[in-house]
């Protein structure tokens, strides 16, 4: 259970025994601090699973689908900051991981993905369950290794962990042919590793930071845009200090939620397609935009020619290739967000007197932005008879105080969770932002719960995405993993329906999910408690019951089909074209 090995165990594992490739793999994973591997066995990984048999130190969680395993590893990684590990067999086992790999790649999540492959003598012969998974995943991995000799295994695994969780993080694939996992060789654990082509630069250039400090003090309407990089680098403290010192308002992207406490008065909410009025207007009006660890996704910028037109753009990113990729950037600072902000804060602290004057001059802007936030808040039409998903998210936020870890699937409920949830801390909002992967919401919560056994984990799903990985209910039941599974059940693919209604003149095409299972009975069939609510009073009661239940609970919140996510900016429009929705 414990990822931290005792000194004794460590010493025992470092011994130069003659052991199989599989045992080398398990030892190396344990020495890397892995506390749980999410996986699914198969022919090409039989030696590896055999080595696990009777190994008391090694923890493996058997999911019901490889996709569940990799999303769980992803949820573990996003919620803990540690590297998530999953394991699957060759061929179909490996290809079932592809969506999860792409999900992690798009959101820069550190994963080590281990696949078995057919024996080296069979590679390239189209043998049974053979797939070139390195080739298949090449555009969606940070790197991939095919291990050809058992002697190379320990070093390769160490390199994979190092690459996955440094620089711009991401998934690394390690493909292990069956004979390599069987071969018996002396175990040599490399204390150091050498990667001549990999030196992630994390320290910013001082001149760049000075230029950024100058730009801030020259601006009168500055705005911060904080993305997933703030969470990934652990830069929330530095960001809070910058905001505290300068009073610059801040908007956080979907992946940046929790990077700034939702209760902060200068936090404007999320920008973009379903962003707040204040955040989008501030982007339109600011004269300096400082992006920290965000990559100007099209869901944030909307049409680029209408994005932050009045602003000089400063971009802090650990990936130099992101700077200037989409938006012309006046000041680029390549480096780790926490280090950059620390250096920036120091540079500004040396100019405190100037800052005091500057705050006075930029005060009208800060006031204006705060006014927009209060005058045009997020809004929905509440109802006493019908259950509103926004109300449910507010209820969850109210009862958990922003301390729960919330995972989401993809669609309307994801946006409601982003808008009406309250995220006070980093790593408490986990969502597939870049790839938009349905089926992510539930298994990722299992991984988050494994990584955070003492915290409340809430998984928010729609009735569509819930059915993409519902088989993992078995895992929750068997191991009593106490995830609270929320299903917003509107019997339709809500976000697609919304687009069809607003953009395709209500020509609803293949979005009807009637005929889905009774989710309460589905949960019960697996041995998970199932509850249902169709109005406010029921919602309050069953949610309380769920919170008081020790084990996993699925709550089926029955909501209306025609509830829409607002505000909304249709694709192809600019930030100026917000539809605010009902009063």
């Amino acid at each position: 259970m414990n990822g931290l090995l005792s000194a004794d165990a460590r010493e025992r594992m470092l011994k130069r025994d003659e052991i199989s490739g599989s045992e080398i793999l398990l030892r190396t994973l344990l020495l890397e601090g892995v506390e749980c591997v999410f996986g699914y066995p198969g022919g090409a990984v039989l030696y590896i699973y055999d080595a696990m048999h009777g190994n008391p130190d090694f923890r493996h969680l058997l999911t019901r689908h490889e996709q569940g395993a990799i999303h769980a590893a992803d949820g573990y990684a996003r919620s803990t900051g540690k590297t998530g590990v999953c394991l699957a067999t060759s061929g179909p086992g490996a290809t079932n991981l592809v969506t999860g790999i792409a999900t992690a790649y798009m959101d820069s999540v550190p994963l080590v993905v281990i696949t078995g492959n057919v024996a080296t003598s069979l590679i390239g012969t189209d043998s049974f369950q053979e797939a070139d998974i390195i080739g298949i995943t090449q555009p969606i991995t940070k790197h991939g290794f095919l291990v050809r000799r058992a002697e190379d295994l320990a070093r390769t695994i160490r390199e994979a962990f190092y690459i996955a969780n440094t620089g711009r993080k991401g998934p690394v694939l390690v493909d292990i042919p069956k004979d390599v996992s069987a071969d018996i060789v002396p175990f040599v654990y490399p204390e150091t590793i050498e990667l001549p082509g990999y030196a992630p630069e994390t320290e910013p250039r001082e001149a760049d930071v000075r230029e950024l400090a100058d730009a801030i003090l020259e601006s009168r309407k500055p705005l911060l845009l904080a993305g997933g990089g703030v969470i990934s680098s652990g830069a929330s403290g530095e960001l809070a200090e910058l905001i505290g010192m300068t009073g610059i308002p801040v908007t956080t992207t979907l992946l940046g939620l929790g990077g700034v406490p939702a209760s902060h008065e200068l936090w404007l909410g999320m920008p973009g397609m379903h962003g707040t009025y204040a955040a989008n207007q501030a982007l339109m009006q600011c004269d300096l935009l400082v992006s920290v660890g965000a990559r100007f996704d099209d869901r944030v910028t909307m049409r680029l020619d209408g994005f932050a037109r009045r602003a000089r753009i400063a971009h802090i990113d650990i990936d130099a290739a992101e700077i200037g990729k989409l938006v012309p950037t006046a000041i680029g600072v390549a480096g780790d967000a926490a280090l950059v902000l620390r250096t920036l804060n120091e540079a500004l602290r040396e100019r405190l007197e100037e800052i005091e004057d500057w705050i006075e001059e930029s005060a009208p802007w800060a006031d204006h932005v705060r006014r927009m936030k209060h005058e045009v808040p997020l809004r929905y039409r509440d109802s006493e008879t019908e259950l509103k998903p926004q109300y449910v998210m507010e209820m969850i936020a109210r009862t958990t105080g922003g301390d729960a870890i919330v995972t989401t699937d993809v669609g309307q409920h994801q946006m409601w969770a982003a808008q009406y949830g309250r995220y006070e801390h980093p790593r408490t909002f986990l969502s597939s932002g870049g790839l938009g992967t349905m089926g992510f919401g539930f298994p990722s919560a299992i991984g988050a719960q494994i990584g955070n056994p003492n915290r409340l984990v809430v998984s928010v799903n729609g009735d569509g995405g819930m059915q993409m990985c519902s088989q993992e209910l078995a895992v929750c039941a068997i191991h009593n993993i106490p995830v609270k599974i929320v299903v917003f059940n509107n019997r339709t693919l809500g976000m697609i329906r919304q687009w069809q209604e607003l953009i395709y003149e209500s020509r609803y095409s293949h979005i009807d999910l009637s005929g889905s299972p009774d989710f309460v009975k589905l949960a019960e069939a697996y041995g998970v408690k199932g509850l249902r609510a169709s109005n406010k009073a029921e919602a309050e009661r069953v949610w309380q019951e769920a919170l008081e239940t020790d084990g996993p609970v699925l709550i089926d919140f029955v909501i209306a089909k025609d509830e829409l996510v607002f505000p909304m900016i249709p694709q192809g429009k600019t930030l100026a074209d917000m539809i605010l929705g009902e009063e």
């Binding site: 090449q138 555009p139 790197h143 095919l146 711009r168 990999y198 200037g324």
Partner: protein, 159 residues
Amino acid sequence: METKEYISVLVLDTPGVLQRVSGLFARRGYNIDSITVGSSEREGMSRMIVAARGDDRQIGQICSQLAKLIDVVAVIRLNERPAVARELMLIKLTITPEHRLEVQHLIDTFRCSIIDAGTNVLIVQVVGDKEKNDAFLQLVKSYGILEVTRTGETAMNRG
């Protein structure tokens, strides 16, 4: 402004490195004239020369994306300093006796060489930058080209 630039990419000799580099170009839709690859002066490392077209920002993007690949050790924009570039081209020409002299004249002017000659066929070797090779190819077109093979340009900085 769109220019042509040479990018020198030092890579580790690992299986799949060429695929990673070419996959990057395909995926991101970069405008590439040619890629050459061969061993370098350093053991275990190869050098690729990428001839790419784009404005300063686009070429910069290509270089930053290349530099991110784990097996890429160094990326250098050769055009930042004086550089030379050469391509090897082989052309198989059909040739009639009455044109032989004309063609020989062209070959001399362009400082090419004949590396194989049959009754009606010549293989001409041309070494030069891409533009020179293009020009030569244009000139001999009318004599009847059976086959052309080109290596793509390789390049290095002067001095």
